[in-house]
Subunit: 217 residues, 3 copies
């Protein structure tokens, strides 16, 4: 029996999110916006175009997840904090684009891996809250994590990078799977979010350092 | 007066789908996934990319339809059978990609036409169940049938094939129209689904054999 | 406290839309469809492809807005008038494509600016009705105005024009912002819609005549 959407939504609003999870989530939003906006600058978009790509990268995955969950107005639009975080991330690019170019690639990959991990587990957690089956919860963890990047790549007219290269979406899906199976085994949600995120982060970094790739055909 | 979404959804769940329609629908899902995954392989995507394109091709049209109908969580996510069918179709490509390449084009076109027909009428049927007007029911039949293919082509960065060539989406729309007008004339839904699907299939195959194309300007 | 979706929707249906606003909205739909279809013809799409691009351009922005607002079945599908307006606009292109090519660019830009203005304020107005915060209402005004054009450009495989050039989406956002801030300051909605639309139209035309562009980086 699926609870009505209104009941679930009230629950969501009554339950204050864990402050550390929320902080992690907002930091991830800032970071994805920063990455998207950086790509927008590289694609010679104008000021607004850069902002749009920053917002789409940062908020797109969560918006798709909330639409697919039938979760009412997407959280990215309902709570101003997400739009503000996306704006901050995009704006940093305008102010510090030279400095950003000098950050070592390894640092950027690690920051991105942290954001990926945060989105993968928070996406899967929200799916569980909305009563999806195990498979869907894992898939929506992955969609939350990489969806914004896919929209970004479609907007700047490229084949989405997650489709062609790298052990990236795979790490997100495995992290989400670890979390979801843990919760299904009656482990506490919050603990499993951290374990799932750590799994995703570790796999992504191992994949980056060791140049893992999925097989091609 | 439009029935509330919750009422309609309960109706949907109470009414066991016709087993033959369901079997046809799942076979169509397998087939569309197979086609999508084949294109993914041809575009040199990695394992996950191929799966993503397979899933998007197979499930995208129905997901768009369910979002537009405001039908709650899309059936493709709510019931595991669709994801499993999409997975099976994609996986077949990994196991038998050589054999698939040897299937005569005419056979592939016929299989695809069958899947197209199944999606067109099931999409239109669900739209009728959700109380849309006649025009919208026909359009959503077409969207269900070709939507996954459009997402697939956007993901691999091509102009959607249905926009530029072939008597393809047109066959889906005509099949859906036959079905919807039949139901509006008090014919039984299930009978009209078969008649609509047969119309779509016949038109698509006639179009293929006779090289029908819509006019260009 | 957000009102339930069903309450809002009944309100929407009870409140007959202002006839002048509705006429303006439908005229905008015809015009956007006409522009989309013209681009479809230029991209050598077939008859159906041209119709699809016409429909997507005219109805896409409003459909995205309604999905994001969780507003039930999108108005573009619920009320036949929008599909009919989109069809009329696309069809005009088939009948008068030569004549359309002879319309001076300035006239086309002015007509497009009028449609942009209509969509920006009607999108923001609907967002306010659905209880979004100020920032979201402004953003959704912009999404309504340019969303169809973005879908159109993605479909014909181009980088969305609004991302790279022109003082276009910016005018829509400013017009929506003027309207939303006016309504928040207790001005009547209808008056602010006209003021917001006039602002958007004026800015867009000034931008066109003076070749305004946002800064690039």
């Amino acid at each position: 029996m699926i609870a009505s959407r209104e009941e679930i939504r009230s629950d969501q609003e009554a339950r204050a999110p864990d402050p550390l999870v929320l902080a992690f989530d907002l930091a991830a939003t800032v970071l994805f916006a920063l990455e998207g906006a950086t790509l927008g600058v590289a694609a010679h978009l104008d000021l607004l175009g850069v902002l749009v790509v920053g917002f789409a990268t940062a908020l797109g995955g969560g918006i798709i997840r909330d639409i697919l969950l039938d979760a009412g107005q997407p959280a990215a639009l309902r709570y101003k904090r997400y739009a503000i975080a996306a704006f901050v991330g995009s704006f940093i690019v305008f102010l510090f684009s030279d400095e950003i170019r000098e950050i070592p690639t390894g640092t950027l990959v690690a920051l991105d891996a942290a954001a990926l991990s945060a989105y993968a587990v928070s996406g899967a957690a929200k799916s569980i809250d909305f009563g999806t089956n195990t498979l869907t919860a894992i898939l929506l963890g992955g969609v939350t994590a990489v969806g914004g990047g896919v929209i970004r790549d479609v907007l700047v007219n490229k084949t989405p990078i997650v489709l062609v290269a790298d052990f990236y979406a795979t790490a997100a899906l495995i992290g989400a799977a670890v979390m979801v199976f843990g919760v299904r085994s009656k482990q506490p949600m919050l603990r499993m979010m951290w374990i799932g995120a750590a799994t995703c982060f570790t796999l992504r970094m191992l994949g980056y350092w060791n140049d893992w790739n999925l097989p091609h055909f």
